[in-house]
């Protein structure tokens, strides 16, 4: 199956969307999301939310860590407190979306065309998107990414509903182990996708700096982890580039 050349007429958006969605279904994250969201669905049952609320939270929030906070604190904590905790847990979306959006730059792509890709961006979609989107012709990237995002979101919705229904039978310890799917998938896919030195160094440094920052309890752990480890990785990358540039 050859990728269409860049100058061929773009395939119809719906076909590209379906191609993106099927890439989502074939992704390991499809199954990981089902597993993880079965855990979350069970959690939402334990805390007394309705199944519709749980599914809506998956569609609207679309961030497992934020949903864990939302579900487990909303019944007892003040609304402002919950909102603040969720805000702090989701800082990662800023650099993720910012790194992704330039890939969609093409003639005819308007600002509002980027709203759906923006909303669909979650860790899983981003990891697969950063790998697959650059392989798509420019004009088809938005539709492809939308398909990928909707496909993966579908897995989360299936998982949310299944976990909710199963909750009564699911022992808490098993539900907890299901939440372990996400870190495992993150670890392996990042290790597979990180071909560039920059990505490898940034990832490895993040693993080291993250726990140190958490141990120092400065607050805003993720933000500091990203800024410190990311900047060091970027500087190493610049230094290597300049050495290679000098040698050439």
């Amino acid at each position: 199956m050859d990728a269409p050349p860049q100058d061929s007429p773009a395939s119809p958006p719906l076909r590209t969307f379906v191609r993106g969605a099927s890439a989502g279904v074939r992704s390991v994250f499809f199954y990981v999301l089902i597993g993880n969201y079965v855990g979350l669905g069970a959690l939402s049952y334990e805390f007394g939310f309705s199944i519709w609320w749980m599914v809506a939270s998956t569609l609207l929030v679309w961030a497992a860590p934020a949903q864990v906070i939302l579900i487990s604190t909303l019944p007892t904590a003040a609304l402002v407190e919950v909102a603040l905790a969720v805000t702090l847990s989701s800082v990662r979306f800023l650099p993720m979306v910012a790194a992704l959006i330039p890939l969609f730059k093409a003639p005819g792509v308007r600002q509002r065309d980027l709203l759906l890709p923006m909303h669909l961006t979650a860790i899983s979609v981003w990891v697969e998107g950063m790998r697959l989107v650059p392989q798509q012709p420019r004009g088809e990237r938005v539709a492809f990414y939308n398909g990928l995002g909707v496909g993966l979101m579908g897995a989360a919705v299936i998982g949310s509903a299944t976990g909710y229904v199963l909750a009564a039978q699911l022992p808490p310890l098993l539900a907890a182990t299901l939440l372990f799917f996400t870190p495992m998938a993150l670890l392996m896919s990042s290790a597979r996708n990180a071909r560039a030195l920059l990505d490898r160094v940034a990832f490895a440094l993040g693993l080291v700096v993250g726990p140190i920052v958490a141990w120092l309890s400065l607050g805003l752990d993720l933000m500091w982890t990203g800024l410190i480890a990311g900047t060091i990785a970027y500087l190493i990358h610049r230094w290597r580039e300049s050495r290679q540039g000098g040698a050439a």
């Binding site: 390991v28 855990g39 609320w53 939270s57 609207l60 929030v61 860590p65 934020a66 939302l70 487990s72 003040a78 609304l79 909102a83 969720v86 805000t87 989701s90 800082v91 990662r92 979306f93 650099p95 993720m96 979306v97 910012a98 790194a99 959006i101 330039p102 709203l115 923006m118 909303h119 961006t121 310890l173 098993l174 907890a176 182990t177 372990f180 870190p183 495992m184 993150l186 670890l187 392996m188 990042s190 290790a191 597979r192 990180a194 920059l198 990505d199 940034a202 990832f203 490895a204 993040g206 693993l207 700096v209 958490a214 752990d221 993720l222 933000m223 480890a229 990311g230 990785a233 970027y234």
Partner: protein, 114 residues
Amino acid sequence: MKTVMTDIGPWFALILAGFLPNEIWRLAGVMLVRGLDEKSQIIIWVRAVATAMLAGVLAQLVLSSTGALALIPVSVRIGAAVLGFLAFLAARKSVFVGVLTGELAVMAGAYWFG
């Protein structure tokens, strides 16, 4: 605050405390890079920051002492992650094999030590 919450209901809370606090970061990401190229130095740096944050999320999830995962001892979680990663490498970087091994290891560990 509790009384307000019961009045406006969980749906309103979902929008105010769930949807908006999340979406604001996604929107900021779109706004900040208006017109920037994927090869520009700022975007390359931003990608490194995003990747490092992702690793931070991973470390947080494996090490966290709160939430449902706290039911499983932290040593079991670290051990399962290492085991999964070794299986991933042994299976020529098969994500599927790695994830499955890690998950089975954490289930076994939770069963015996949890």
